[in-house]
Symmetry: D2
């Protein structure tokens, strides 16, 4: 199918990633992560996220989240997360299956964010054996709605969590887009905030496949390799993921890819924001635009460019930009909308 705005999963692979794979294919290498490519990629993570990190590479985002959280929990625990988060609404029962824990959904505001008071009020019944004991708080940065928590918001959440001895997990499936949005380094938005365990998305930024799980300090990674094998997320030819991540970080390809995707979202936003019949429903801060549009436009627009109807009741739609979204694509789409608006 032709390029659209449906998903950054519909987009393919960055050419540099295919190069990295070809490079890793020149020789034999040890399997299951005991190879040099993996070692080098880990060192690259240490450069970007600070020393004393434990890193491993897994197949997909659900695997990254579940493995990270699974390392830090026991099966009588619970996990606080946004009621709109990918972890809660798009990963089937994988979290329960693998960790055994309860997911406790927290209400989100209009920006898809959990507010500090909501989080505080959810921390209840500590030490009561009848209630699943809260152990982890998981946040998606950016959120499912393409909004980005500020560093101040994250810091106040982190402070609350530390007070209650709750582990801070961040689902960074689109972490690079958030870093570009906040104009901060990867470390400033994660480790410096107090994040304990982090999923770093590779697939959506343009890898063929692969995600990283990062532990700050080694407190929760003692059993990482056992849990990783058990969770069926230990790639035998791990080097082909590691090599991509190495290239992504070492050559700052993530900056180029994420900045471009974000810019395309802003371009789209700027092009349609003044149209009366459209309501931009969430602040545009990363690589997606959420808008409520007339329902009769759906089919006409989708004929030209694929995208998702996010909420059928309100006809809120999601337009998602990727590393390969071109200005031309965006401009044509804006034109199509204006044409409908003037029809």
């Amino acid at each position: 199918m032709k390029k659209g705005l449906a998903s950054d999963n519909y987009a393919g692979v960055l050419p540099e990633m295919l190069e990295a794979i070809a490079e890793a294919n020149r020789l034999h290498a040890k399997s299951y992560g005991y190879d040099d490519f993996t070692e080098k990629a880990k060192q690259e993570f240490a450069k970007h996220f600070g020393s004393e990190v434990e890193v491993t590479f897994v197949f997909n985002g659900t695997g990254a989240n579940v493995l990270g959280i699974g390392c830090a929990t026991e099966s009588f625990n619970s996990i606080l997360c946004a009621d709109t988060s990918h972890l809660y609404v798009d990963e089937s029962t994988a979290p329960e299956t693998f960790t055994g824990c309860r997911l406790i959904p927290l209400a989100t505001n209009g920006e898809g964010k959990m507010e500090i008071e909501t989080i505080r009020n959810s921390i209840i019944r500590r030490g009561d054996e009848h209630y699943p004991q809260i152990k982890v708080f998981s946040i998606a940065q950016p959120t499912e709605y393409g909004t980005v928590y500020t560093r101040e918001e994250l810091l106040s959440i982190s402070k609350l969590l530390k007070e209650h001895n709750i582990i801070f997990h961040m689902d960074g499936a689109r972490l690079f887009n958030a870093a570009i949005s906040l104009k901060c380094s990867l470390k400033e938005m994660t480790r410096d905030i107090g994040v304990d365990i982090l999923s770093v998305g590779g697939t959506k930024i343009g890898l063929l496949f692969g995600e990283a799980v990062v532990f700050f300090g080694n407190k929760y990674s003692q059993n990482l390799r056992y849990r990783q094998k058990q969770s069926m997320q230990l790639p035998s030819k791990m080097r082909f993921i590691s090599a991509q991540f190495y290239r992504l970080l070492q050559d700052e390809i993530w900056v180029k890819s994420a900045a471009h995707a974000n810019q395309m979202a802003i371009r789209l936003f700027e092009g349609v924001k003044d149209i009366q019949k459209i309501k931009i429903s969430r602040t545009v801060q990363a690589n997606s635009v959420f808008a409520i549009i007339p329902a009769q436009w759906n089919e006409l627009l989708q004929d030209q460019t694929s995208f998702h109807i996010w909420n059928e009741k309100t006809n809120e739609v999601r337009w998602m930009c990727a590393f390969d979204t071109e200005e031309k694509n965006v401009d044509e789409f804006i034109s199509a909308i204006h044409k409908l608006d003037n029809a």
Copy 2:
């Protein structure tokens, strides 16, 4: 590291597979398997395995086995398997975690095979709620020892299983090597035998990554897509696995790759079989050679060519050939052994 005989996981990717990936990268495609490449790959499986097959593509071999078995079991069931099988000894507790079932290990003979009497004697306490109820029998073809069950052996097992209403699962992590060895089609060795659920290995034959799960008939695949997502084995960019499998089957690249690996194993076997100090410990029928060698040779040989010590007590070693093992590599290794023998 340079090429060795350690594992077909140490080997890289067939060039045709990288081509297939590049081809799949030219356009956008729907995610999670709703794309055209996946559709075409499924049709290719139907050509090779017969119509009315359900096929899906997953990340790795553990995932393929566990997903296939998980679709057919409830958590009070048990699974019969060889005590030497990958499923039993090399997949951590992934089978228990995702299926909830008990694995019941069956003794294997000197060839690493389960004999029909052993299987028959293990079918006990049917209908007794205190005993995990046997639901699946899983066999690896070839076995972990590189031996291959004959079609007659498989047929007699299949008959026994049907009598007891037990599902026949085959772990075909190296299925192509077995088909070459038996000089039969993929279908003749699986569906025609009475196999119900099949894992087809891609990684070891030369894919970048990816395995297939095949269901003959649709009896056990009703909930496949739910189970696949739940087990964290639903790739968002599935097309990049599908495209490889399509190419592998459509262009019969599997024949070339598997036949070559098997031939290299035979070449190695022929080259060393008459050496008195070496005992070939298992019949060479696929792409590996198992041998008991003098322990003092280990280090000297491994300096030249990596391989695994399979059993430290007996000093049984495994020499594994892959699609990229060259005659030159084998001949040099044979020479090195002869030199040690004559030293």
Copy 3:
């Protein structure tokens, strides 16, 4: 400790239940439910709930709920339940551990009930493999707040569930109190409504221990005995639970016990409802009274009679009556409150 209003778990055992146990102790009997007492108790359930019921007896309420639901679900399913329900907030992660499923909490109104619109709006994403597929709706009758769904409310819920092919589970930990409250038979409030699976509480009505799980029809009970053993809820000396349930139903001891407890709650309600400083916070319909009282009264009242502070923020308290609560106990407690009110 002396009698109080803390919990119907703090109360002991009805004398008739101890008699039933002694009676069952006169001879040997087959274990694990294959005895005559269990057979007779099942027949008694058929008399009260209609024929074609499957019944078994388990140790405790969590076991009854989890076993019933576990028989009807697969691990990629989800279960709708009240966010205030015992199942959701008081059974640790037992539901996740044994069923693998997600619990999805539904908001409740001031009476602790789920409204039909709330339920309807929660039935989403049917057939979407990324979302835990809703399979069961679980309701507690009475609710945790001692309110009772009317038959009309239950019927409209049942109709909605049937339309969406969702199984109707009822947690009847205090089912007998609800039946007395609604002045209907056990069958009219369960089977006739369309309930599929039912937990019937014994412990709180005055058994030494023991709960029943009832399946209407045999659609979901095919694997009951396997699931019951697997969930560690298959008593070896089941006859001592069965004998109690037999006596409870056969001699209508449940009527006497539940009616008395409900009357004591009404007596208490009548005695305090006009006190200005007290707000009765939930309609009194079963055997408990919820009230918001001045926080400074807590300690003074609890010195005399134990009870739970249900909500520390609002100082809502729960006064729970049992089969052995005496008029004298209630009247003394009312007097103590009046004394505080006038102090």
Copy 4:
């Protein structure tokens, strides 16, 4: 049914236990184990097993084993146990469901015991993430065949386990019978040996229901109350189990009960051991006699006295004595056998 030799589960309740229950029923008490009866019972355990024990009370034997082991394991671990043990062959998949771990069956000798070399050889692949990591060794004392490990045997096993940092779990479903057999205290056979976690059976010795889980030291009991609730083994009216155990230990009723059952087994053994057509198949050391008898005797004998055919192929039968087996019962059964022998 009349008294037989089928199972100590078929036997009823010791009169002293019913008295203890009646006593505990005189007043209200806190639920979930926060009551005085439970406190007193725990102190009684400390008297018998030494100080610094953690004790809790659960519903049944499977619950006791699974809870104890669950507290000490993570889901990527494995548990060594006898291939004939109750844990392995009679508890469905409860161990897997609740702990997530693999059970690894060890071969047993003719006495139903695991030999030290068998155990040593099973301790493999430590630190290898592909193999379920051995964490617990579980032994039944007495064994399922009514044989009893000597203290010397247990000590040598314990030494091996300590060397390998493996936790020592003992399934004492009939622990009291073993203590009588070895003429040692409960402590000498458990804590002094180096047992870490112990199940103490109440049901088979004559309780209405109830088992204890004992942790020596507090290393593995940190999360006990959470795990107990999660495993559905936290009785709300725990006092009725505690009160029985208190009485059992405090008045040494266990001595009387276990000694009697053992003596009845010996009486039976002495009465039939010289019969040529019978082969006593296991040494009689606790309260059961295993014998291979002519198959044509089964029905004739079972008409008089119920018992289990343990192995249909060899016609090995089990005759199980309990606290209420009378000399008269045994003698009549012996006579019946002699009559068949002479027929």
